[in-house]
Symmetry: C2
Subunit: 131 residues, 2 copies
């Protein structure tokens, strides 16, 4: 199967697929006589895996670990459990940070008239010389 078909199947961009190959994340696909990449079912399964893992917010390096765990019949599910637990904690921390940003910005929005006058609580807050 050629790259654009794999791309539309997996939802990855052809560019992204080549990129994953270039950084050694996935196995090399075969090549046709004309040099075009020819993806096997196994190649495509790996790309699906990456698509999903990336959607869950795992970094490329974490994807590398996950792929290795997937490939390893001796894997301990505890290893996966830990990796994912840490990821969930990361996400939680991230959500907390975003909520705090949102909270402060929303409070400031209420105080900003949003009209033709230059006075603005947001600008004043940003310009203050303190934490």
């Amino acid at each position: 199967m050629k790259i654009s078909e794999v791309a539309s199947k997996t939802g990855l961009d052809a560019k992204t697929i080549r990129y994953y190959e270039s950084i050694g994340l996935v196995e090399l696909p075969d090549r046709l006589d004309n040099g075009y990449r020819d993806y096997s079912e196994q190649n495509i399964r790996q790309l699906w895996f990456l698509r999903h893992a990336r959607q869950f917010g795992f970094s490329i390096d974490q994807c590398r670990e996950l792929l290795a765990l997937w490939a390893d019949p001796q894997r301990r599910s505890a290893a996966v459990h830990q990796l994912v637990t840490e990821k969930v904690q990361d996400i939680d921390r991230h959500i907390r940070e975003l909520k705090e940003m949102k909270k402060v910005l929303s409070e400031l929005l209420v105080e900003c008239p949003g009209n033709d006058s230059p006075h603005c609580a947001i600008i004043n807050k940003l310009a203050s010389d303190s934490e």
Copy 2:
């Protein structure tokens, strides 16, 4: 005032301050006879502003806009209001995405035994060939 003092005052890294200068984000500080940067109160206020705006998650380009609005006595607070409203919407979208990731991962975590066996619902989910 020299750069390291400004850095510890504003909480920005000296490298970051030079970087902001290099991309034309802030006014150029004076230089001492030895070539060292010499920051004025005005320079420092700009850096405080950037520190705050970055903490609120504004991109460098948005910071550029905000700095321009701050400097403009003719500004309309409506412009600031709109920029910040969009930012809050971005944050909201981001939070929603993260919550969805977290939800699915948490559900999978419950199904992953986290022991010595290789069976793992998370790996299975990632390996599935569907959305």
